[in-house]
């Protein structure tokens, strides 16, 4: 046994982090553009059929969820796993090769996805829009990730898996199961020998299709926006703050509780639809129960800062992560509220739903990915972070953006939901549909401005990251805890 510190190999981790920055900017800029389209519909005609809200919306969701977020997750995975397993990926040429192939095929898939969706190839199923050849490539990419993961686990020196690894493993398994079942489709060319080879029909029809889709759709949120992000915070917050995780037992309860409860909650997307009533009720109830494991993780993280709250003032990185867990608590309270039948009757189909999604994705997911990338930068390059001030600025600009986003969407959603059901003194509907659209103009404008602020923050993030790479000041050794940063 050697006693020298391990030299980890961050090649693949870096590549994915660069991609996260690029996809974040691209995906969210498209988001801002389509947000402005809702406020100013003339914009829809700028790029012919390729620039309409409807064509771009799936591209926005896919690039952000599966481009930005997954890149961020993979970037942290190839960093965290080596460190908590006490093994360098470079120790095995094979596993390292698998990691690199994972990256390149993933990049190919992402490019293919954007082009095919621009051209109108979509299965229409939300967050599962990719047509069958892309689905097959997704399976390959996912299996490669699994091979890298279990390869590293097989080589590990530290026998006990750290909490973050539990969550990465669960992400791998959960997405694999959900994705396979929801994307069962029959390529029409293979059956009939004619027509477009990219097209397929869903294996399920009508209500069944809806049931499988939202079992998937909701849990794609679980296993892309929640589970792996918890993996990230369990590593980076204790590491950056130098504080041990508050409670092992709480992390156990939260992990196994989340695994069991989350999958039931998909039914809350189908309340008052034609799926059986008992499933809708199960969806409601389990969504409410979901508060327990969700808040368990969030509270565990917040209490990790116990006695060290001064760090919140001193370090913008800690700010990002603490606010992220707070947003996680907010959106995991909001979700269950929307899953209660009477609230759902009002909220479903309105802008309150995208509002809810965005306080989670911007406040929790994006903040954690931003913070983790900046925590890794000094370790990647052995240089201090370029600017604390810039990070502070980014934090406040983006936080303002998120608040504008969700508060305008809450108001818009509830306004519209109330107007849809309002009646006059004779019991007739009080508003025609278009009245409930034009009234939203100010909120759509505010939302688009909120989104713009967030994207401005991303540019600051990218700038700070690049300047860190190029900085003259070289660190003599890797920082143990708090990341060093320039003024």
């Amino acid at each position: 046994m050697q006693n020298a510190a391990l030299e980890y190999d961050y090649t693949v981790s870096k590549w994915f982090t660069y991609l996260a920055i690029i996809f974040g900017i691209v995906g969210m800029s498209i988001g801002v553009f389509i947000a402005f389209e809702l406020a100013f519909p003339e914009l829809n005609n700028l790029f012919g059929q390729y620039g309409t809200f409807s064509r771009l919306r799936p591209i926005h969701t896919n690039v952000v969820a599966f481009g930005f977020t997954l890149s961020g997750i993979f970037g942290t995975f190839y960093y965290v796993s080596q460190r908590v397993l006490k093994v360098s990926i470079a120790e095995s040429k094979f596993v390292h090769g698998v990691g690199k192939l994972h990256f390149w095929l993933y990049l190919l898939l992402a490019a293919w996805l954007v082009v095919s969706e621009l051209l109108g190839y979509t299965t229409s199923k939300e967050y599962a829009e990719m047509e069958w050849p892309l689905d097959l490539l997704t399976v390959v990419v996912w299996v490669l990730w699994g091979m890298a993961m279990f390869g590293l686990i097989g080589m590990r020196r530290e026998k006990t898996l750290y909490i973050s690894m539990w969550y990465y493993i669960a992400t791998f398994l959960g997405v694999a199961m959900l994705y396979l079942f929801n994307n069962m489709e029959v390529p029409t060319y293979l059956v009939t020998g004619m027509g477009d080879w990219m097209k397929s029909v869903s294996m399920y029809s009508g209500t069944n299709d809806a049931l499988v889709q939202w079992w998937y759709g909701h849990n794609a949120v679980a296993f892309v926006f929640t589970v792996p992000i918890i993996a990230i915070i369990y590593y980076y917050l204790p590491k950056e703050s130098g504080q041990p995780v508050f409670s092992y037992k709480l992390s156990l309860l939260s992990f196994w509780g989340l695994m069991f409860v989350y999958l039931w909650a998909g039914g809350h997307h189908l309340i008052y639809s034609t799926v059986p009533d008992w499933m809708q009720t199960m969806g409601s109830i389990f969504s409410v129960i979901l508060i327990l494991p969700s808040w368990g993780s969030a509270i565990n993280m917040l209490l990790t800062m116990k006695g060290e709250w001064n760090q919140l003032k001193e370090s913008p990185l800690i700010k990002f992560m603490v606010l992220a867990s707070t947003f996680y608590m907010l959106s995991t309270l909001e979700g269950p509220i929307q899953a209660i039948k009477s609230v759902n009757a009002l909220a479903h189909f309105t802008d309150w739903i995208p509002g809810h999604v965005h306080d989670g994705t911007l406040g929790w997911v994006a903040f954690m990915i931003i913070a983790s990338a900046l925590h890794m930068a000094p370790r990647y390059y052995k240089r201090e972070i370029y600017s604390r001030k810039l990070m502070e600025m980014q934090f406040w600009i983006q936080t303002t953006g998120i608040v504008l986003y969700f508060s305008s969407m809450w108001i818009a959603g509830i306004t519209q939901g109330m107007m849809w059901r309002a009646v006059d003194q004779y019991g007739n509907l009080a508003y025609s549909f278009i009245d409930t659209v034009t009234v939203l103009h100010p909120y759509y404008t505010i939302r688009a401005i909120g989104g713009t602020l967030f994207v401005i923050g991303l540019f600051l993030w990218a700038y700070n990251f690049v300047k860190t790479m190029q900085s003259e000041k070289v660190l003599e050794k890797e920082p143990a805890f708090a990341s060093p940063m320039g003024a």
Partner: protein
């Protein structure tokens, strides 16, 4: 037990998988046969309607329009009778949507006409002042891919036993060789719609034997009852 699992990645993974697979097993399996039975009067889509549905999907109309009327008075007053599970028996994929930036369309065929759709898709504000819907002018000069639509319908028939060619049901045929006949029928159907439209380019195209996307889309929208 947990300490034991945390040192054994294989058993740990098996444990996680069992715990997450549980809900799906309980929720999805029991209902499958039940929900897919069509209600009386539900017919599969004609070839032209399938082509229109593909256009609807291609431009992600479902990003802003639902096709699910919930059982509330405010919804049945606005959109018609609430939706029944069996009405969707031939919908692959389902198109319920998750957001109503625009109104529900599940029964739009009951209260909108070919003429209305033509004006609306060309310039939404001409019929609905204040509308924020994009204009879909490209659908007027871009043709549908009828072969792909036929491939989809035929797959429905072969793989999923959708009752084409049965008494009272739309005609389709049994193989690639039957496509020309089906194409002819689709064209006849398209001509009827084009006759009610006023756009000269569309009329000319249909007269030449082409089917612009807008014609198929209107056929599909008119079929939604």
């Amino acid at each position: 037990m947990f300490h034991w699992l945390e040192k054994r990645p294989f058993f740990f993974s098996v444990g996680v998988f069992l715990v997450i697979a549980f809900a799906g097993l309980i929720e999805i399996v029991p209902d499958f046969a039940q929900a897919s039975r069509p209600v009386a009067g539900t017919k599969p889509y004609t070839l032209l309607q399938i082509a229109g549905r593909q256009t609807y999907i291609k431009d992600s109309c479902n990003a802003c329009h639902s096709q699910l009327i919930r059982p509330f008075k405010s919804e049945t007053d606005r959109y018609g009778p609430y939706s029944l599970s069996g009405e969707y028996a031939y919908d692959r994929p389902f198109l319920w949507g998750s957001k109503r930036t625009g109104p529900d369309l599940h029964r739009v065929g009951e209260y909108r006409t070919t003429d209305w759709h033509e004006n609306h898709m060309w310039e939404p504000t001409s019929v609905v002042p204040g509308s924020i819907m994009p204009a879909y002018k490209h659908m007027f000069h871009q043709n549908v891919d009828l072969e792909t639509a036929y491939a989809e319908a035929l797959t429905d028939k072969i793989v999923f036993n959708v009752p084409y060619d049965q008494p009272g049901m739309p005609k389709l045929g049994n193989s690639k060789e039957d496509f020309p006949a089906a194409q002819k029928m689709a064209l006849e159907e398209a001509k009827k719609i084009a006759a009610e439209m006023k756009n000269q380019d569309v009329k000319d195209a249909v007269a030449r034997g082409e089917i612009p996307e807008i014609v198929a889309l209107i056929a599909y929208l008119n079929s939604l009852h």
